[in-house]
């Protein structure tokens, strides 16, 4: 192993079978005490068709076997608690422990969504406070906390636009415009909401091309969906002009607020013409993310869209909070209960822990990304030179001359103890390396990352084979992603007699 690799590898190099293979008939994790209440015959109570006698091939293992199995598996993975996770566009920031503490408090963790609202005033207050904070941070007028993730927020936002146009103009219009630097989910959401998608090209600085926009915006356009800052990590300087242009044609401006990490406390979408937007609480507001979710994708709106917000709507009358379901113009329900409540609690804890200091978090995120950009732009190609915000996008153009591409560099980064950055996205940069350190990282950690990336650039020039065959320090080496996608094996089947020999 190279002596430049400063971080320890963490993979326990131990084989681990499937939990099904560890199963043996009759093994139990816990032993229940004898029943001290009258037994209920499930067949009689539910009907024979609904009573289950057992679950076929359900693994039977002891408690310590379960604990060891999943603990071992977890050591094969990377986590923010182990090291930096610079996935651009995903904002994998640290999840502060105080959020976890707060969300586990008795009065919060044990509440039930079906208990009378009179007894849930505390939880409703949490929702109200969070909504008020998000209104303040985004500069919008109102919102909903219901959507369970960013993509559902996008769909909700588009359905609001649809309802508004149908209500005020008699028809929902046909098209949604999406710049080529937008998040990949945007076109999918627009199609699901029943719209056709038309691309708006970016200019050479990575900004929306206003001249092209002028040509395509007309009475058929329902809205434009803009990710701001864009996936290039560049602020859309033309956003206010674009908003005016759309509004002049009776269309609305949707902002994908996934990159709010670059704006919170500094600039407010409500002030630059945005009519509706979503936030990803699991990104900007530090709630757990990626496997550890669930997410939350609140949608914030201007007054004109408020009547259409999904139910239930949080209201306050003479000091009492309530969730109301009667809204004539509402698009209806998008999610059960009050959304992913546990996530919302964590987001409020984050916002309150910072207060107005959330501006500092944003500035640190931008500073970290630019620190990395400045320390790497002499060794990696930087296709768009516009000032970077919370993330920076390089390309593999220089390394490609030696046959090393962005995936190879990302795989080699694993050997240096970092999670790979986002590879090959955004698509407008061929061979993209998209890096987002977030505000969580110290200068020391950023320096380690820069050191690793510079060492890899040097390896790509002097020993490209080492990079192309990485990772070398992990339990398994490079996986055959192609076969896995072309001929996936989706289900494990036990051998008919005895344990399988592999």
């Amino acid at each position: 192993m190279s002596d430049r690799i400063k971080k320890a590898g963490r993979h326990v190099s131990q084989n681990e079978g499937l939990i099904f293979e560890q199963s043996a008939l009759g093994k139990r994790g816990i032993e229940f005490p004898p029943l001290d209440v009258p037994a209920v015959d499930a067949r009689a109570a539910l009907g024979a068709a609904y009573a289950r006698e057992g679950i076929e091939r359900f693994p039977e293992v002891s408690e310590i076997e379960v604990i060891r199995h999943f603990t071992r598996l977890s050591t094969w993975n990377h986590a923010i608690d182990l090291g930096m996770y610079p996935l651009g566009s995903c904002t994998m920031k640290y999840n502060p422990r105080v959020n976890e503490f707060v969300s586990r408090l008795d009065g919060i963790a044990t509440e039930h969504p079906y208990q009378p609202q009179e007894l849930s005033q505390g939880c409703l207050k949490i929702l109200k406070m969070l909504l008020d904070c998000l209104v303040e941070i985004t500069g919008m007028d109102a919102g909903t906390l219901e959507p369970a993730a960013g993509a559902q927020g996008e769909l909700t936002g588009l359905l609001l636009i649809r309802a508004y146009l149908e209500d005020t103009q008699g028809q929902p219009r046909k098209k949604v415009l999406i710049p080529d630097s937008a998040h990949g989910t945007n076109p999918a959401s627009a199609v699901i909401a029943g719209y056709e998608v038309e691309n708006v090209p970016s200019d050479e600085r990575g900004q929306i091309d206003i001249a092209s926009l002028k040509k395509i915006v007309n009475g058929n356009v329902a809205a434009m969906m803009v990710t701001n800052p864009s996936t290039l990590g560049v602020f859309e300087q033309n956003i206010a002009t674009a908003a005016e242009l759309l509004h002049a044609h009776g269309a609305l401006l949707y902002m994908d607020g996934a990159n709010m990490n670059a704006l919170a406390g500094v600039a407010r979408p409500g002030d630059f013409g945005v009519d509706v937007m979503h936030l990803n609480l699991h990104k900007t507001f530090s709630t757990p993310h990626g496997g550890g979710g669930p997410g939350a994708g609140p949608v914030m709106v201007k007054k004109i869209l408020q009547p259409y917000l999904p139910i239930p709507v949080l209201t306050e009358k003479s000091g009492r909070l309530a969730l109301e379901n009667h809204r004539l113009k509402s698009i209806g329900r998008v999610r059960a209960f009050g959304g992913n409540f546990g996530v919302l609690v964590r987001a409020l804890a984050y916002v309150l822990a910072y207060g107005p200091g959330i501006r500092q978090a944003t500035e640190d995120a931008v500073l970290n990304a630019n620190y990395i950009r400045n320390n790497l732009e002499d060794v990696y190609d930087l296709p768009y030179k516009s000032p970077s915000m919370h993330e920076v996008v390089f390309s593999d153009a220089r390394q490609k001359k030696n046959g090393v591409n962005t995936t190879d560099i990302a795989k080699r980064l694993i050997d240096y103890g970092f999670h790979p950055y986002t590879t090959s996205f955004p698509l407008i940069v061929p061979g993209a390396l998209m890096i987002e350190p977030t505000e969580s990282e110290s200068k020391q950690e950023c320096d380690l990352f820069v050191g690793a990336m510079r060492a890899i650039a040097e390896e790509a020039a002097t020993n490209p084979e080492l990079v192309k065959t990485a990772p070398h320090s992990t339990r398994v080496s490079r996986l055959d992603e192609v076969s896995a996608a072309r001929k996936p094996i989706l289900r494990w089947r036990p051998c008919p007699s005895g344990p399988c020999l592999r």
Partner: protein, 132 residues
């Protein structure tokens, strides 16, 4: 590299004309940019396609990409062999990995597309642009 009797689009599709039918596929440049292809979704016979509109998708390990119709017409046949062997798109994009055969709505439409020499110039300009 690029067959001289094919016509090409800026979206990297090719079309081979034969009377009032045309065979459509994606170019070698496109398959190289996409990387290993894992899935191809094509329209059924009888589907009407319109020049410049999408008619199918190709999924690679990198991304899902849309395929646009070079000309208008009606699908006569889709290359069903690709569903079991999507890798053919990488190995023989100009031959065995044709995607659809169509009955042309207006055979003259294809003459507006690039010929092999023009397409070659188009992609070498593109490569210069990205390495600049």
């Amino acid at each position: 590299m690029y067959p001289s009797d094919y016509r090409y689009t800026k979206e990297h599709e090719w079309i081979k004309m034969s009377g009032d039918t045309g065979t459509i596929g994606i170019t070698d440049y496109a398959q190289h940019e996409l990387g290993d292809v894992v899935y191809v979704e094509l329209p059924a016979a009888g589907t009407k396609i319109t020049a410049g509109q999408l008619f199918g998708t190709i999924e690679s390990v990198k991304a899902v990409s849309e395929i646009y119709a070079p000309v208008s017409g009606e699908v006569i046949e889709a290359n069903l062999a690709l569903s079991n062997a999507p890798e053919t798109v990488n190995s023989d994009p100009h031959g065995a990995a044709w995607l659809i055969k169509i009955k042309l709505a207006a055979p003259a439409e294809a003459s507006k597309l690039m010929d092999a020499a023009a397409y070659q110039t188009f992609i070498s300009d593109k490569e210069k642009e990205t390495s600049a």
